[in-house]
Symmetry: C2
Subunit: 113 residues, 2 copies
Amino acid sequence: MLEYKDKHYYCPVELTMDLVGGKWKGVIIWYLKDSTMRYNELKKKITTISEKVLIKELRSLESDGIVSRKVYPEVPPKVEYSLTPYGKTLIPIFELISKWGNKHVELYGTLKE
Amino acid sequence: MLEYKDKHYYCPVELTMDLVGGKWKGVIIWYLKDSTMRYNELKKKITTISEKVLIKELRSLESDGIVSRKVYPEVPPKVEYSLTPYGKTLIPIFELISKWGNKHVELYGTLKE
DNA sequence: CGGTATCCATTCGGATACTG
DNA sequence: CAGTATCCGAATGGATACCG
């Protein structure tokens, strides 16, 4: 039995999926893979996510040490999100996931404009 | 823009996470990695999943060609679940995920009995 | 044994309005 | 710009009982 942040998991796959699984976290990590992004940039890229959910996912990733949030004390405000060095250890995983998804579309899906 | 089963995705990571992400699918795939399992075996292994959710996830994985369901016409009934050859192409991904989870526990979590 | 059906509480998630 | 606050319907998830 594994324990992290007062939650119990019986296998490491379950734990990882709890931290970076779900509908959006992988996509966020994927966008931050090679560049820092501002809040609004992410929002524009991931058009189908709501603001509420985006900020919730970012906070969650931040609290697990995967994403870092840097605030510039300017007006208008500027906040940049990026992967921490620890978050970057996830990149190989999402590289495989991305490749698998591409292949899946080739085999069973379609590409639209 | 990607399309699969009438759903739209704007990146392959999103698609893959939709198919095998979520709280339970990874764990199910992980258990089926090296052996066929009966419904009740899975239920006993993944103690914290409800029957309803387990069957829903299995059906979903089946409909995406990842898991196959074999019914033996016996009394009492016997149903075996296993990974299809296509489902096995996911194993390298979950191997990385499992390793990452183990490391995460070493660094930030604890191991209980 | 391998599921369904049902009920119900909780959470998720989208839309919109507002603020420092 | 980068969020918060609020409303509210939809979807999820657990527990239990029941069935072929």
